[in-house]
């Protein structure tokens, strides 16, 4: 089974069941670099480690090609391993190191065949460094495209560490380290979609839309990635339908015939999101997402506020009903009825359980901005109006309608704007809520603005 893991970050190592953890430390001692062994001997593992330690300093020399290549690979592997994280690792007991090849860009490429031979190692016996683990490669020319993975032998699952042959290694890719790294990092959590691997349960997690665009798109520069990789081992097709694996949410995965369709679909979705938001600011995607985030937060606040208000009203109503029935049943007892009258005064407060009602929202229209904040029963309204209309009167009227008691007003004419701050209190028993206030204010002010010609103002 393919384990979707990245390289270890030696520093954040999870304690392996065996001595693996101490093995995987920063450079000295070097990480088990199974990959870079020479073709000569099977127990070259130890030699290799020594080699890489020596060669660590100079990786630009190219005397012995094989050795150098392997050394370079070692060094690069170490570098890469520093960079990658382990959080992708699912199962600590099955630790798999994947060997990334992109960093070999600067090293001279040996022809494909040689490199393949390099990896053609049956299992190595564990060295002293890795007491119980086994390092193994599969023959990359195995018949099944990704059978290499399936064939990874493990001594025992509890303590096996296998090095996976990186599928893309042998492909003569143009040097693209950063993009590849991006792809690689995205790999474990998302998985490839490969044409030849439909049935293998290799890639867990839905690899659908995702891989292609970011990794695939970046890596294979143009749409003709097909040609490059046709070597029998792995095939990537550019215009392939997504494999649609394992989508848990139950939504239907879309299968796009072309990459362009997929992009178009995504753009449509962004547009739909933008249309939902009341005050879209800019057209770019980041703003759309930002606006959506703020809008969702605002909606949540509104929902909470309304829930509290509804609850309060219901409670008040029940209380009144209860009191009424009690009153009726009591009859002429004057003393009793007067004591009943008292709780009627505060049906709202007693219920709240200490939760303070609070909400806040902003609304903008073309010339007006309204900011409404409510804490308990105090409402603070800030109004900024871009045109020269004296809206104090209308706003004051609206506030009366909304049953808000004006406590403090400050504001006036500032440059081209009228700006006001109103501190008000909600009259008791009224259940006005933030969005109602804001909407009403904007509506009224805009209407007023529309009806008065601008020249009529002073």
């Amino acid at each position: 089974m393919y384990e979707e893991t990245g390289c270890f970050d030696p520093n954040s190592m999870v304690e392996g069941p065996d001595g693996l953890s101490q093995v995987l430390k920063p450079p000295p001692p070097p990480v088990p670099l199974m990959a870079g062994s020479t073709t000569n001997s099977h127990n070259s593992f130890e030699d290799n480690i020594k080699l890489s330690a020596e060669e660590l300093s100079y990786h630009h020399c190219n005397p012995h090609q094989e050795v150098d290549a392997s050394a370079a690979m070692d060094i690069q592997l170490q570098n890469q391993q520093m960079a990658f994280n382990t959080h992708l690792m699912q199962d600590s007991s099955n630790q798999v190191l994947a060997f990334a090849s992109s960093s070999l860009a600067d090293a001279s490429y040996t022809p494909t065949a040689d490199l393949l031979n390099l990896f053609h190692l049956p299992r190595c016996s564990a060295s002293s460094l890795l007491p119980n683990s086994s390092i193994s490669f599969t023959n990359p020319t195995h018949t099944t495209p990704l059978g290499l993975v399936g064939d990874l032998p493990m001594t025992d699952t509890a303590s096996a560490s296998s090095i996976l042959y990186d599928p893309l290694f042998h492909l003569n890719l143009p040097p693209q380290p950063p993009l590849f790294r991006e792809l690689f990092q995205s790999l474990p959590s998302h998985g490839y979609s490969l044409s030849g691997s439909r049935d293998s349960s290799l890639f867990g997690g839905g690899g659908d839309d995702h891989v292609e665009g970011s990794g695939g798109g970046g890596l294979y520069q143009d749409g003709d990635g097909e040609q490059q990789f046709d070597n029998g081992v792995l095939e990537f097709t550019w215009d392939m339908a997504c494999m649609g694996k394992g989508r848990k949410s139950g939504k239907i995965t879309k299968h796009f015939a072309t990459e362009r369709q997929r992009r178009q679909h995504l753009t449509d979705k962004y547009q739909a999101l933008r249309d939902l938001v009341p005050n879209p600011t800019k057209n770019d995607r980041a703003s759309v997402v930002g606006d959506a985030i703020n809008y969702i937060k605002e909606l949540l606040r509104n929902v909470n506020e309304l829930k509290i208000l509804v609850e309060r009203k219901r409670c008040a109503r029940e209380r009144r009903k209860r009191l009424k029935t009690e009153e009726d049943s009591i009859g002429n007892n004057v003393h009793e009825s007067s004591s009943i009258m008292k709780p009627l005064g505060d049906p709202d407060q007693s219920f709240n359980n200490g939760s303070l009602r609070s909400s806040w929202l902003q609304r903008k229209s073309k010339d007006t901005e309204v900011d409404v904040r409510i804490v308990d029963d105090e409402v603070t309204i800030k109004l900024v109006q871009r045109k020269k209309i004296n809206c104090l009167l209308i706003v004051s009227k609206v506030l009366d309608e909304l049953q808000l008691d004006l406590h403090h007003v400050a504001g006036g004419h500032i440059g081209d704007y009228y700006s006001f701050l109103f501190n008000t209190k909600i009259y008791e028993g009224s259940s006005v809520y933030a969005s109602a206030i804001a909407n009403k204010l904007i509506e009224v002010v805009d209407r007023h603005y529309a009806s008065t010609p601008s020249s009529g103002c002073y």
């Binding site: 909606l299 219901r314 104090l392 004051s396 009366d400």
Partner: protein, 140 residues
């Protein structure tokens, strides 16, 4: 989760929340119909008037000139529900335009201090304005 699914989820979530809001506000509106709150507001006003008397605050109007066209007014009046609106309404009707306004309430009284200009471009005298305002206050 990839971009497309995140956006999709966001869209459905927003729609769901919007429906929730609508539902709750309709519910609230419906419940609103059957509430009896008139008792409360009366008591507020009564309290205000009493408080003011206790603190010895009198209703007052002061007017003074600043600049050539501008007047500065200061009004103290008893706070009653909707009174401020009526005040502004009356002032606007009579041609007084409030430029920079400040209103504060304390102890049942309301203090309005504002810069006033004539809306129709005519200059106002201090005396005229003061009388005008006093009348307004009496009538509202």
């Amino acid at each position: 989760m990839n971009k497309a699914t995140i956006i999709e989820d966001a869209i459905t979530y927003i729609q769901e929340l919007q429906q929730n809001v609508k539902l709750l506000s309709d519910q609230l509106l419906e419940m609103e119909g059957s509430s009896e709150e008139a008792v409360q507001t009366r008591s507020d006003d009564i309290n205000a008037a009493e408080e003011m008397k206790q603190c010895g605050i009198m209703e007052d109007v002061q007017v003074t000139n600043i600049d050539r066209n501008k007047l500065w007014i200061k009004i103290i009046l008893e706070k009653k529900r909707g009174r401020f609106t009526r005040l502004i309404e009356a002032m606007t009707y009579l041609g007084l335009e409030l430029t920079d306004t400040n209103v504060a309430t304390s102890k049942g009284a309301m203090l309005v201090s504002s810069c006033v200009e004539g809306s129709y471009g005519d200059t106002l005298t201090v005396e005229q304005t003061k009388d005008l305002l006093l009348e307004i206050i009496k009538s509202i």
